[in-house]
Amino acid sequence: MTTQLGGPVTRALPAPDNDEPPERNTGLTGRIVKIVLLGLVVAIAIWAAFPLVANEAWIGLGILVATTAVLLWLYLTPRHIPAKYLAPGTVLLIAFQIFPVLYTASTAFTNYGDGHRGNKDEAVVAIESASVTQVPGSLQYALSVATTGNPATGPLVFLITDPVSKQVSAGDADGLKKIDDATVSSSGKVTAADGYTILNAGQASLRSKEITDLAVPVDGGAIRSSGLSRAYEGKAGRAYDKACDCVRDTTTGKTWTADESLGAFVAADGERLAQGWKVGVGFSNFTRVVTDRSISGPFLSTLVWNFAFALGSTGGTFILGMLVALALHSKKVRGRNVYRLLLVLPYAMPAFAMLLVWRDMFNTDFGLINNLFGLHVNWMGETGTARLAVLLVQLWLGYPYMFLVTTGALQAIPAELSEASRIDGAGAWQSFRRIVLPLLMVALTPLLISSFAFNFNNFNAIYLTTEGGPFPADNPMNGATDLLITYTYRLAFGGSGAQYGYAAAISIFIFMIVGVVSAIAFRRTRAQEEVYA
């Protein structure tokens, strides 16, 4: 966006005692842009409103309307200048930071996960519809979906043909009655019948839900559709009984009673139906993290390695990147730009692909590294070598970034400072140690902290190379190169399907660890800035 878009900002603040601020000198382009952008806001709001209305999500709709109204009011009135600056950032902060954190936190108190994704009604529907089976020995009929009225709205009728007697019957929710004056095709499907309009597939598919819901009661079960051209006599094996809040097997009479604390139907013998629903489980996900021995046992060693990995990745790349940057900062080096270009290359390649390439290079029998050096090291199979390998890969992937930022920071340090120190008699090392490094650190420490926080949770770096391994023979859950994040991913998703509630609880613990580390680090940076700035 160029400055042409708007005229100069005439005033940063409204005049103190002025009820009607004068029309501002906004350029024509600026005004058009404003109208277009606000128009887009409204357009998107309307577009977003449709699904909210369709799902009767009135709270969401309220938020949407309120947000849009406030924004329009804010930008169409000339007042509240500071709010104009603050509003976008605030809204984005709420949407991208606060909402995800709150959502994660609220998920952590539920059993949300595989088998517990929907609500109780959905579970009941799933249980009942999964239990409908064809009545043993019953027939399958050719089916035509018809109506006695308008194809789009009239009451639905199933016209079915008995495969043996070729008798045609019409069925609706009241039952089945025989009809005689129907034309039947060679496949047995009714193609015309007096008083009925046959729906074609297109018309029928628009009434899909009514068709699948229609069950024509007959002795021993009900005739239901199987698609649009066949019907079968089915019987629901399980039914929900509101009186006892339980699911009852229609043949054996066994019952599974709803347990609202588990979000599942449980029988007296402890058998649980697979289809459950989402319920609040209080702190049980958190207590599980704390009390589970498979977590608390290896937790400390994983945490220590996690710190070592994050520090090693950040420190290693920083030192290498800085050394290269310092070397290339010297004006004596010829072709500096060529070197810089080449050095940035690893940074330009997709890390995702590079991690996989590196993993293959560390292969014992076929890997480049063993072949090149004539070694036979099982890099990813031993604790020490696997840890070294992931740190080496991190070093290669990460130093170009550190090189770039250090180069930038070095160029911002006035050359006079070094010259002055040299005149005062400082050697190259002393000048670097006393003048350049402290100034570099002021600029780079925040970047190092963010790099540390990133590497602390660097899921890809581990998952795409060692997958957390090598694993001790007696514990497949926790490997030598596991970070907390890869470890918890395995705990939450590796065992019995996805357990989002549990995963959310663990991620809150990680969030707290990273948060504390970052807070301490930033506090120290501030102290450092006060010293050097």
Partner: protein, 417 residues
């Protein structure tokens, strides 16, 4: 002014986000505009990239014949998770194409509906494929292709099919000493193991994963991993490991197992139909035979995987989806087209008969898979893969079989609950 314009740009995203917030609390449907669809019904099918392309002409044909619109969407990654999540939010498809071992998880999440096939239709589907899609006595979906692993051998290096694993190892060792090959066998293990590819050997050595109950369903309460039979099985497997004959190695991974074979580093490869394209490209003369068993052991039964069409429970057009899956997928033409997209044996016997003349491999795959047991579809199977694979890798690397597999069994039973 510039800042203000940017502010407005940023502001534009807010209603969108608000919609997102609303959606995550309530079940959002996709924005379907009723007026646009008033004229006709719509069927949405999800499949992976390859099959989506193969399905396209048939979907169009089905659409024209029935006067409906059929949309095929290719889902390239994590199809199962994507499907379950999208279904729950109401933005899923009407028909899903995927592997049969998803069934347990899809059923517990209420994502798929059973299908009611007629006796004729059932008779037209290979028996073991039909058994694979049967779960809790219900048929969940229509199978269209099967796959199982077999022993693929380079007939120039190894003219004779080995009768036992021991024969295979000695043939491989001979080639190795003659410097004709550098590996005895290419079977993917990797640092974290591969339960699917190891299973034939594990079964031959007497191990099992889950016992079966009286009606033939898998019984999650009878876990075979960690019991004495599995310890004995892994003791046998350990003799093939890195401290044994070296036929099984952690350095052979899912990424290099096929290229080890096509690069003539190994005369034997244990893999599935998906490997054939590369092998043909490399111009290697090959033969497909069943995975050999241990001498005096049980048969080396591979797992049977079945590619299946599912009817989504939360689809918007279930009647049409049922029609497509039960009455259209069961016709041989579609199965042949899907076979042409990727050569896996069709599950429909009519389609199988149609293509077997032009592809001699098909009968061999089927022969290799005739004892194959369907991959367990129960949700508890999810707990097996990771610990079992890691125990396998550790034991092949030389760890104590008993200690390792017992620990894996404990981990698995812990997560099954």
């Amino acid at each position: 002014m510039r800042l203000r314009a940017m502010g407005v740009v940023a502001a534009m995203t807010i209603p969108l986000l608000a919609a997102g917030c609303g959606g995550s609390k309530n079940d959002t449907a996709t924005t379907d505009n009723p007026s646009a669809k008033a004229a006709t019904g719509e069927l949405v099918i999800w499949a992976d990239d390859k099959r989506a392309a193969a399905l396209k002409p048939f979907a169009d044909k089905f659409g024209t014949e029935n006067g409906v619109t059929v949309k095929i969407q290719a889902i390239s990654k994590d199809q199962q998770t994507t499907f379950v999540t999208a279904s729950q939010q109401g933005s899923g498809p009407d028909v899903m194409v995927g592997a049969h071992d998803w069934i347990g998880n899809l059923v517990q999440n209420g994502a798929i509906d059973p299908v009611q096939l007629s006796a004729d239709q059932k008779a037209g589907i290979a028996e073991n494929a039909l058994k694979a899609v049967t779960f809790n006595g219900q048929t969940y979906g229509v199978p269209y292709a099967t796959e199982n692993i077999a022993l693929i051998r380079n007939t120039e290096l190894a003219p004779e099919a080995p009768a036992t694993i021991e024969d295979l190892v000695s043939a491989g060792q001979k080639l190795k000493t003659e410097k004709k090959a550098s590996e005895i066998l290419s079977l993917q293990v990797g640092q974290t193991g591969d339960a699917y590819h190891l299973y034939p050997l594990y079964a031959s050595a007497g191990g099992y994963l889950f016992g079966t109950s009286a009606n033939g369903d898998y019984n999650a309460k009878d876990l075979g991993v960690g019991n004495p039979a599995s310890v004995a099985a892994f003791k046998k497997i350990a003799t093939l490991g890195e401290k044994g004959s070296g036929a099984l190695k952690r350095s052979i991974t899912s990424d290099n197992s096929i290229s080890t074979f096509t690069g003539k580093k190994s005369a034997f490869l244990i893999s599935g139909p998906w490997a054939i394209t590369d092998i043909k490209k490399a111009g290697i003369k090959y033969d497909i035979t069943p995975v050999p068993a241990f001498a005096g052991g049980k048969p080396a039964t591979p797992f049977l995987g079945v590619q299946t069409f599912y009817v989504a429970s939360k689809g918007k057009n279930k009647a049409l989806a049922q029609e497509f899956v039960t009455n259209y997928v069961t016709t041989p033409d579609l199965a042949v087209a899907l076979y042409n997209a990727e050569p896996r044996p069709p599950a429909l016997t009519a389609a199988f008969d149609q293509v077997k003349g032009s592809d001699p491999d098909l009968a061999k795959w089927q022969d290799a898979g005739k004892n194959a047991i369907p991959l367990p579809a129960i949700p508890e199977m999810a707990a097996i893969w990771d610990p079992f694979g890691k125990a396998e890798a550790a034991i092949i690397g030389g760890a104590d079989p008993a200690k390792t597999i017992e620990a894996a069994g404990k981990t698995i039973s812990g997560s099954i609950k």
